[in-house]
Symmetry: C2
Subunit: 254 residues, 2 copies
DNA sequence: GCAAAAGTGTTTATGATACACCCATGC
DNA sequence: GCATGGGTGTATCATAAACACTTTTGC
């Protein structure tokens, strides 16, 4: 037991982990599909690969059975960010990812047990180079597309909303998209990802022009494979050069 | 005494309060003035009114006598932001200000007493409409120009640095400058403030053109008074209109 | 009359947008 | 041969940047 002269809140960390699912997702047991008649088809011009979020299913009360952001209590001797990474790996097996702090959420009553203040992190995992489906205990962790989210425990819907908003602003001023993508990617993959994050279609020629104008997207002598059409040129992001320019005040802008 | 099954960190809030001092500040007892010979004069083209930060002098250990950001412990039943505002008013008398959350700082050892995680807030106080010198206990609170800061307690220098960086990015995409200024202001005041925050000179004509192009800066039928030169037109910021536009996706951009 | 800051337009350069067709490949 | 996505350039428009002189006022 630990005693203090004044009351102390509990402190947790929670991670909003975004990923890009490339493989077709299994169709969920659609609990509440909104009027399928009114919206019968997805726009075929937009790539159907979706932004997804990693959730875990709680097995303890409160909210037993509900889906929630991965997270847990901060230990007394660890950095906040380290706590977030530790909890994430413990609960989902996911590691090696981009993280940034999102903010603190601490409204009294957000956890029915006691006063809990959580520090939320925004994370991005590269599902191409570090596939996690194997490491993840499939029974209680899962990837959900943003338009097929279940109800979440605690105030996690609010946190997720804030993370998404942050992701949208970040994507315009930092090259975070490459955190989602494999080392070798096609320009179309980049564009689809921007469109998925921003939720709006972009002009193909202008987009490619702008990307190439940065000088940071270097074409490789390779093309994609196993596609039923003309294969696209592969590119890589010149991270070293970006870091150097960034240190000199260069700003990514897309 | 309060007892828990697991150890709990303490949680505090700290405020980085920015202000714009209009009146000439008293010259500080310059402890470590860096080579006054090399930099003998301030650039006369840049307005000397300075961005300042509100600090308190600690009278308890740790860091007794050192200057620190105003802040304190979060109570168990209050919102984080409410705690920040409460502590700020208790310690400095300052109220009625703009606040936004900056982030959580929780490196183990940042407080020598126990594990303390602090949620930092960025605040801006309008020293024209709400002068605080009277309310502030002058013995242990004071305003410091950014280039004349004392050493700060804990990791508060780091927090202040983060706040300043945040202020600089905010000022470009939200009309926060008007939080500093009186209800009626001159365009030159706005420009000087931008220059003070961004640390770079701006072109007068382009700046005014851009401000006026927003349609949110409305000229009044009044001019400033008691100046030893031609009096400038006063303006006000049309906040209502800004809020309405903002809700429709309009972005401030300066 | 002079010092000090207010006020005012035009030109140029740069970046953003809009837009449509042919090409390569797998089936 | 056809379906599918890959790849390419130009003209227009809007925004940003550079730049210097006259006006008003207090002293």
């Amino acid at each position: 037991m630990f005693t203090y002269r004044y009351p102390h809140p509990a402190v947790t960390v929670d991670c909003v982990v975004f990923g890009l699912d490339d493989a077709p997702r299994p169709v969920p047991a659609d609990a509440d599909r909104r009027d399928a008649a009114a919206e019968p088809r997805r726009d075929p011009a937009v790539d159907t690969r979706d932004l997804t979020v990693l959730l875990i299913q709680r097995d303890l009360d409160p909210y037993a059975g509900a889906w929630a952001l991965p997270g847990g209590f901060v230990q007394m001797d660890e950095e906040l960010e380290a706590a977030a990474l530790r909890e994430l790996e413990e609960e989902t097996g996911v590691r090696d990812l981009y993280v940034e702090q999102l903010g603190a959420f601490g409204t009294p009553g957000r956890d029915p047990r006691e006063r809990v203040i959580t520090i939320a992190y925004l994370a991005i995992v590269n599902l191409f180079d570090h596939p996690v489906t194997a490491a993840t205990d499939a029974r209680n962790a899962g990837w959900f597309a943003l338009d097929e989210l279940p109800r979440l425990a605690f105030d996690h819907e609010q946190i997720l909303e804030a993370a998404l908003e942050r992701l949208r602003t970040n994507v315009r001023k930092e090259p975070v998209v490459f955190e989602f993508l494999p080392e070798k990617f096609t320009l179309r993959q980049v564009q689809s990802l921007y469109e998925a994050i921003l939720g709006e279609p972009l002009d193909k020629r202008n987009f490619r022009k702008k990307l190439q104008a940065t000088g940071l997207i270097v074409p490789l002598d390779e093309v994609e494979m196993d596609v039923a059409h003309r294969a696209a040129q592969l590119h890589r992001f010149d991270r070293e050069r970006y870091e150097a320019l960034h240190a000199d005040g260069y700003r990514w802008n897309a």
